[in-house]
């Protein structure tokens, strides 16, 4: 910068954390050399900072891509360790009911069946309840000062450690529910679903506890969906003479259906992957039973209860079953993600 024959060099000393420091020096035209060297140091400093900037950018980019890499790595590692079992048992693993650590013959059909059945029970209970509660807490049925703490409390259910819920299930819930099972069994025992001896540790018990765990997921996502619907939908339906509930059932729920389906898929994935509650409450019995009153097993309960004492081949077989669970939950989660994303894009 040339001002009246003298050169003013504005030296930006970077940022020292408190205040930017600017050094202004006025020099005569005769001291060109000094100006040059000053400019050189400024350029050097700037290039250093731009290097730092670039480096920082790349560091964060690598870390971000690292998240995707972790997901891929988790899948790869489990697949790699399961490979011996995949080679030995092939796809027959998915359809065999034998789990024999003595003969080293393994099949996971009862566990896959148990995983799907217990998750289905959980969804059967949690979907209508979850959607109902979401509606109750979104449309103005109760004043805000009651609604807010209720929603807050429901969010807290997710925070209960599953092992604590399992402990509660063993010592409180099963003794509590057993008489109801006995009544159900003695009156409806002729239906295969409720046959057998109701001891408490059963597919149904696990399904109910899983429903408790996943219902907050359905409530919070469905609520978010309902809240994000344009108010014109409500106003339009009301103006046509619909009652509040007709508006909800015929207009709001269909409009928010994709969000609700997304929440159900996420809940389904969570129910399939839940471990401690399954290991503690399902009874760990390696059989396929139509009756929900009978004990069963899930993939997660199988892994949790057997991994500790498993031999080499058995570990590989357990990892294979883990891989099956991984594929199931990945499919469900990716599907859920896509539905919710699509819905948000429409918004």
């Amino acid at each position: 910068m040339i001002v009246g024959g003298s050169t003013i060099v504005i030296n930006v000393n970077g940022w020292n954390g408190k205040q930017p420091v600017y050094e202004c020096k006025t020099m005569s035209a005769g001291t060109e050399g000094a100006t040059q060297s000053n400019r050189g140091s400024l350029e050097k400093r700037l290039s250093k900072q731009s290097l730092l900037d670039q480096g920082f950018f790349w560091l964060t980019l690598v870390m971000a891509i690292g998240i995707a890499a972790v997901l891929a790595f988790v899948i790869y590692e489990i697949g790699r360790s399961a490979l011996p079992a995949i080679q030995t048992f092939g796809l027959g693993f998915l359809f065999s009911t034998t789990w024999d650590p003595v003969q080293n013959v393994y099949g996971a059909l009862p566990q896959i069946y148990g995983t799907l059945v217990t998750s289905a029970i959980a969804l059967f209970l949690a979907v209508p309840i979850g959607v109902g509660v979401a509606v109750f807490l979104t449309e103005d049925f109760v004043p805000g000062y009651i609604r807010t703490p209720i929603s807050f409390a429901i969010e807290l259910i997710v925070a209960i450690p599953s092992v604590v819920l399992g402990l509660w299930g063993i010592f409180v819930f099963i003794p509590f529910i057993r008489p109801f099972y006995q009544v159900l069994n003695s009156t409806l025992g002729w239906i295969p679903l409720f046959a057998g001896v109701p001891r408490g540790y059963s597919l149904l018990t696990l399904g109910i506890i899983l429903a408790i765990m996943i219902v907050p997921i359905i409530i919070s996502i469905t609520r978010g969906t309902l809240l994000s619907l344009p108010p014109e939908l409500r106003q339009g339906a009301m103006a046509m003479g619909a009652t509040r509930w007709e508006t909800i059932i015929r207009v709001l729920i269909p409009a928010g259906l994709s969000g609700i389906i997304g929440s159900v898929m996420l809940a389904f994935g969570r129910a399939m992957g839940e471990t401690m509650v399954a290991a503690m409450l399902v009874g760990n019995s390696n059989r396929i039973s139509i009756s929900l009153m009978n004990p069963g097993a899930t993939i997660t309960s199988l892994i949790a209860s057997q991994f500790g004492e498993a031999g080499r081949t058995q570990v590989a077989a357990l990892l294979y079953s883990g891989l099956v669970l991984m594929v199931l939950t990945l499919l469900v989660n990716i599907f859920a993600e896509m539905i919710i994303k699509k819905f948000q894009n429409v918004e």
């Binding site: 930017p20 900072q49 730092l52 920082f56 950018f57 964060t60 870390m63 971000a64 891509i65 690292g66 998240i67 972790v70 997901l71 790595f73 988790v74 489990i78 309840i129 109902g132 509660v133 109750f136 209720i150 429901i154 969010e155 807290l156 259910i157 925070a159 209960i160 450690p161 599953s162 092992v163 604590v164 399992g166 402990l167 509660w168 010592f171 409180v172 408790i212 219902v215 009652t243 509040r244 509930w245 994935g269 969570r270 992957g273 839940e274 471990t275 401690m276 290991a279 503690m280 949790a304 991994f307 500790g308 357990l318 883990g322 669970l325 939950t329 990945l330 469900v332 989660n333 994303k341």
Partner: protein, 297 residues
């Protein structure tokens, strides 16, 4: 020829627009409201019951020795679970050391550099899918990666498993925190000559620090309650241990093992440990959520 007005327009009774109390619409509305209200109570009941029962069963057994002593051998009574608390802290510490810098740097990319980019979309997608990966599979991953390679169960392997669970939570919540900082703040910093690195590390991050701290705390609260990923990574240990490369006891795993063995003393300890765990997790979640709610920029 003129007809009186009264003849042309007969007197009209005022119409009652209130819906009849016995109309099907009224009945449906009232019954649906009652049913959903009942569902709401039904959903809250387990929370209340769990907190109440854990407090009732755990409190009598809880004492100073719970935090300082080892569990009794089978058949004897008294004792505590101090070693499991130490073990939980160590595994959580290792998990935090891995997941926090990783997650926060990734969040910085998403909010500062990659807004709206393809990479950011896929990273968010992967993080969401990673959140849905069952905890036990994070355990299998750490087993396969660390335990099978190093040849023994260790607190370190447990930390790796928990880090996988914490990572997407830290990243997503930290990203939300960074997004809350108004764009003008960044522009102002850049405008007075700060580089992007300076803007982010000295302006944006300090402003987002409370949100990021909340993010890490919530992730910790989630990880603290997980037993599944620790079952075959950190395994268990009946004695005091602070060795990161040896098996270690943790609160959730201790609760699991003591819940399924038929000794009354151990079951009581499991309840007391559950009370400690539930108390910590619930208080942390409540405080973190309240702080997160108040944050407005």
């Amino acid at each position: 020829m003129t007809t009186p007005l009264n003849d042309a327009l007969p007197a009209v009774e005022p119409i009652d627009l209130t819906r009849s109390k016995t109309s099907s619409k009224t009945i449906m509305s009232v019954s649906l409201t009652v049913i959903t209200g009942f569902f709401t109570l039904l959903v809250l009941a387990p929370l209340v019951a769990v907190v109440f029962d854990v407090a009732r069963e755990g409190l009598p057994r809880l004492g100073l020795e719970s935090f300082t002593e080892l569990p009794p051998p089978p058949g004897l009574t008294d004792g505590g679970f101090g070693h499991a608390i130490v073990g939980s802290l160590i595994t959580l510490g290792i998990a935090t050391a891995f997941s926090t810098p990783f997650g926060i740097l990734a969040a910085i990319y998403l909010s500062e550099f990659g807004r709206g980019s393809r990479v950011a979309y896929w990273v968010r997608f992967s993080a969401n899918v990673l959140t849905g990966v069952p905890a036990i599979l994070a355990g299998l991953f750490a087993y396969s990666l660390v335990v099978a390679t190093m040849g023994n169960f260790s607190a370190f392997a447990g930390g790796v498993a928990l880090a996988v669970l914490m990572l997407p939570i830290v990243m997503r919540t930290a990203e939300e925190g960074l997004m809350l900082i108004p764009h003008e703040v960044r522009l102002a910093a850049l405008g007075i000559g700060a580089t992007r690195f300076q803007t982010i590390t000295q302006i944006v991050l300090p402003a987002a620090l409370p949100a990021i701290a909340t993010a890490v705390t919530l992730a910790l609260a989630r990880a603290a309650g997980e037993a599944a990923p620790l079952l075959f990574t950190a395994l268990n240990n009946n004695f005091w241990s602070t060795d990161a490369f040896a098996p270690i006891a943790t609160l959730p795993v201790l609760i699991y093992f003591f819940a399924i063995i038929p000794f009354r003393a151990q079951q009581e300890l499991a309840w007391a440990a559950a009370l400690v765990l539930l108390g910590i997790v619930l208080i942390v979640s409540i405080v973190a959520r309240l702080i997160a709610r108040q944050k407005k920029y």
